[in-house]
């Protein structure tokens, strides 16, 4: 796809501003009624989903040219997708999220790059991870766990740790805990260890489509060789790449893909996993964008719009309207409800219309202050419902929340759901 493929889509923004708020029927307070970090922080309409559509069309039609201000606008966005959820409650032709991503691909093609993103891509090219950490140490997290090596052994389940969990020492107990829980439940699980590579989702998000294509090919070949039936990942970013991005670029993984929370919930139901529980805790749950609305399976479409009933536009063949409704929402909640001692309360912005943690879309790398501001907004929401802790299921979210809190010496707790299952 390219910007010209969205020529029709760009004409159907109605400039209604629904893209700036959570669904109106869900608003409980004014304080937590916004859905989009970018427009909330920077205020110009150009920062909203609709504004990005206008920018894209303006560039496409040659009405304006790329400037520093427009490049900043394009990259100051987590691509969290909340604009598109809201937009698609109103219509289905305009696709603000896909257009915002295409703007970045155009930027990369035109050499309009951000140095911070180039550093990330450089790390991927050299070491297959966005941090530039040594590839040889990618599997260190699993030391001593007796997990199978899928490069040499067969396993039913491939456990894909992802870059963040593989290299972030603070999060190591989570990824080790997840693998341990699978082993305890009797799952025949293996890892690729140092041969595991990035999913490429972060590269795609900052406009480097080709980089992700390479990783997709790598993972597809590894899956074939392993003969596994399931690909399980604790990383919401990787999950979204597998479920959404790969089909978008027509790279299909011929295997059942599960986030750890989906698999844990299944194992709990089957009686193979028993939540241990710890001290009593009132927690709230943060839906990671990449597991929720961006975890919705993507169904490729290559059709046309036709007219019925006069001017009614319908897609032929039927086309998925992406509203995030097919994301992973219930399994994490089922797990939380099953853990002894845990009192679970919901925040105001949840599920399809969850507020972003701030880490996505290359924002954490390039605009640290914006990323942090976004995280603090979410933490304020968690505190507002009286939670003792914020629980999430994404290493990137957890890292961002912890960093934002750390800078303020705030000891508000952030957990991964795996830690609670392990009995924190």
């Amino acid at each position: 796809m390219a910007l010209q493929d969205y020529e029709k889509s760009m004409n159907y923004c109605i400039r209604c501003s629904h893209c700036k708020w959570i669904p109106f029927n869900k608003i409980k307070t004014k304080r937590f009624s916004a859905n989009c970090p970018a427009i909330s922080r920077y205020n110009f309409h150009s920062y909203s989903g609709g504004g990005r559509v206008a920018i894209a069309q303006s560039l496409f039609l040659g009405r304006s040219e790329m400037t520093d201000e427009i490049r900043e606008t394009i990259y100051r966005c987590q691509l969290c997708g909340s604009c598109q959820v809201a937009c698609h409650l109103i219509g289905e032709i305009c696709e603000p999220l896909e257009i915002a991503r295409e703007l970045r691909i155009k930027c990369v093609e035109d050499g309009e790059l951000l140095p911070e993103h180039m550093l990330m891509i450089d790390g991927m090219r050299k070491e297959d991870n966005p941090f530039g950490e040594p590839k040889a140490r990618r599997g260190d997290w699993a030391e001593g766990l007796s997990l199978k090596n899928i490069n040499t052994d067969k396993a039913d389940v491939i456990f894909h740790a992802g870059c963040r969990f593989s290299y972030d020492a603070d999060l190591r107990s989570i990824v080790r805990g997840a693998a341990t829980l699978l082993l305890k439940a009797g799952v025949n699980v293996g890892i690729a260890g140092k041969e595991e590579a990035c999913c490429g989702g972060r590269a795609f998000d900052v406009g480097y489509r080709g980089q992700m294509e390479n990783y997709a090919d790598d993972i597809i070949s590894r899956i074939k060789a392993a003969g596994a039936t399931k690909l399980v990942t604790p990383c919401a970013d990787c999950y979204s790449a597998f479920m959404q991005f790969y089909p978008m670029i027509r790279k299909e993984l011929d295997i059942e893909i599960l986030h750890t929370t989906e698999y844990f919930a299944r194992l709990i139901k089957e009686g193979k996993l028993k939540p241990r529980g710890g001290s009593s805790l009132r927690v709230t749950y943060h839906d990671p964008c990449h597991l929720g609305r961006l975890g919705e399976p993507y169904i490729p479409w290559n059709g046309t719009w036709k007219k019925v009933w006069g001017q009614l536009n319908i897609p032929d063949p039927p086309k998925q309207v992406r509203r995030g409704t097919g994301g992973v929402y219930e399994p994490p909640r089922e797990i939380l409800r099953s853990i002894p001692g845990i009192e679970f309360v919901e925040m105001e912005r949840i599920r399809e219309y969850s507020w972003c943690c701030g880490a996505g879309g290359g924002v954490r790398e390039a605009y640290e202050d914006f990323s942090e501001w976004t995280a603090l907004e979410r933490i304020a929401e968690a505190k507002a419902v009286g939670a003792d802790a914020l629980v999430t299921t994404c290493g990137w979210c957890e890292r961002n929340f912890k960093d934002a809190l750390g800078k303020r010496n705030d000891d508000f707790k952030v957990y991964d759901i795996t830690e609670l299952l392990m009995g924190v």
């Binding site: 501003s17 307070t29 040219e65």
Partner: protein, 530 residues
């Protein structure tokens, strides 16, 4: 734009809150209905000179003074939806009031809220309901500015029947006049708080907005108080799912009841809604007519196409909904008894399909909150719409004439295939204003903004309808005419006034000259001073 003037604006709001980048400005040029004035896109013909984001009344005032000093025009908008928000010419400084988004106060005792321009109806309503109060959330959507609706542009609502028209719900107002002076209306003008719009202190609500508003051509409103009303429903209406007909209310409240009466003819139908208004039993009335309801409420356009095929023949033609909200079970029983007496008197029957959970919940949410349903109904099918009869306030008897007229004319145009086929029945309404004092109806017409012939069909239909109304000595609805006039580079008032009993423009122009001596406010939708 003069660089000195730009620098002054930058000093007022700070460099992060002003831009003249062409791409940024194009985000302010792209507009719903831009297709009426642009060359095949939604970009209107005029890009702003710059856009500024003030955060206080003082900043607004300072920018207006800069415009006066440098001979620039200005135009402010809050949520900024629609052609009305776009500049009417070149060299216009746009003030985006997004940073002025404070809900300053909800006064429970005296039942009003004080808001800045970027507080939307959905936010105000959510906060009010938690305090047992409610407000008029207009049909244009919960995403619209409460202040803009109250001070600057008409907007009607399903719940006008119980809470009145917002023209009369606006109380104290803070107004930056086009010359930069600040005027405070009503009790606010005498330092007596926000409680009334009419004094002690200057009472100028009629001048400020009249029935329709000056649409940004008469200065900038920076704060206002809005009357709130007692709400007998729960503090929240929690729901599951987010998409149209899939959404369900969790625990439908016992003291709320939705009923859909239908009739054999339009005269009985109108008599019933008038009686309902007079009896003061309804929280809200109204519905999308069957053509629009079936075309717009599917979870996607394909499902809507199927609903149009299968459901439209099943739904009665002369139907509306009424939502009863009571403070107690006996009160609800009383309301139902009154309604049944009205239906017996007018020959109405109940269409029970609407009481099924899936219809009941989505319509209840529509009538209470607005939500996404109104916008979905009119935008999803074709990508654009314009209401004919938009702004048609009727007295008893004239509503039926207008409804008949619009339907008949529209059906002819629908047959051309250039508009969405709603059988001519794309109406939103009927609405009752102020307990039966007046009635309102508009007929939503869906066209494709990417099909030039479809746009032309919409314009032709609107003009033909307006001509027909004029011939029958009925009022030409202002907001329908604004769009048609703008598409032809004309002023709406200049095309309407000749059909009225009195040329009201002479008064409008005197107000404009008095309040805007330098002709600084962009008056493309109001009146030019000369």
């Amino acid at each position: 734009m003069n660089s000195e003037a730009y620098k002054m604006v930058e000093n007022i709001v700070g460099p992060d809150n002003v831009s003249q980048d062409p791409g940024v400005l194009d985000a302010y040029t792209y507009q719903w209905m831009g297709e009426m004035t642009g060359g095949g896109t939604r970009f209107g013909p005029y890009r702003p000179a710059c856009v500024a984001l003030p955060s206080t009344t003082e900043e607004v005032q300072a920018i207006v003074k800069v415009c006066n000093r440098f001979g620039l025009k200005f135009k402010a908008h809050s949520t900024g939806w629609g052609l009305y928000a776009s500049p009417g010419g070149g060299g216009v400084v746009v003030l985006d009031l997004r940073r002025m988004n404070r809900l300053i106060e909800i006064n429970e005792k005296d039942m009003y809220a004080v808001v800045e321009p970027y507080v939307i109806w959905a936010q105000l309503q959510a906060e009010a309901m938690r305090k047992g109060l409610n407000c008029v959330t207009i049909g244009a959507g919960s995403c619209t500015s409460a202040l803009a609706n109250c001070t600057s542009v008409m907007g009607v609502a399903n719940n006008n029947v119980s809470m009145g028209y917002n023209e009369r719900n606006v109380l104290g107002v803070e107004w930056v006049l086009p010359d930069g002076e600040i005027l405070r209306l009503g009790s606010l003008g005498s330092g007596a708080g926000w409680i009334t719009g009419d004094g002690p202190g200057p009472s100028l609500r009629g001048v400020m907005r009249g029935a329709f508003g000056a649409l940004g051509g008469f200065g900038i409103f920076t704060r206002c108080a809005i009357r709130l009303y007692q709400w007998g429903g729960p503090p929240e209406l929690p729901s599951e799912n987010i998409v149209s007909m899939d959404e369900r209310i969790i625990g439908y409240p016992e003291n709320i009841k939705l009923i859909a009466p239908y009739f054999d003819d339009r005269v009985s139908f109108e008599e019933a809604i008038a009686n309902i208004g007079e009896s003061e039993i309804a929280y809200a009335t109204g519905l999308l007519e069957r053509g629009l309801m079936t075309l717009g409420l599917g979870i996607d356009n394909r499902q809507s196409a199927e609903m149009r095929e299968n459901m439209a023949p099943v739904i009665p033609k002369f139907i509306f909904t009424i939502l009863l909200v009571a403070n107690s079970k006996p009160e609800l029983e009383h309301q139902i008894r009154v309604l049944e007496a009205i239906l017996e008197h007018t020959g109405g029957k109940k269409f029970e399909m609407v009481e099924q959970e899936n219809y009941r919940d989505i319509i209840t949410l529509l009538l209470v909150k607005g939500g996404s349903v109104p916008a979905r109904g009119v935008f999803s099918p074709t990508g654009s719409f314009s209401p004919i009869l938009c702004g048609f306030f009727a007295t008893r008897g004239t509503l039926v004439k207008a409804m008949d007229d619009s339907e008949e004319i529209k059906r002819k145009h629908v047959e051309s295939g250039l508009l969405a086929d709603d059988m001519g029945e794309g109406g939103w309404g009927p609405l009752i204003i102020d307990h039966g004092h007046a009635e309102y109806f508009e007929n939503e017409t869906l066209f494709d903004p990417q099909v030039p012939e479809s746009i032309k069909a919409l314009i032709d239909l609107t003009e033909e309808t307006n001509q027909s109304l004029a011939q029958k000595k009925l009022p030409i609805p202002f907001l329908s005419q604004v769009k048609v006039a703008r598409s032809k580079g004309l002023s709406a008032h200049d095309t309407i006034a000749p059909h009225m009993n009195v040329d009201y423009r002479s008064w409008q122009r005197k107000f404009k000259q008095a309040f805007d001596p330098n002709d600084t406010g962009d008056s493309c939708n109001y009146i030019e001073s000369k």
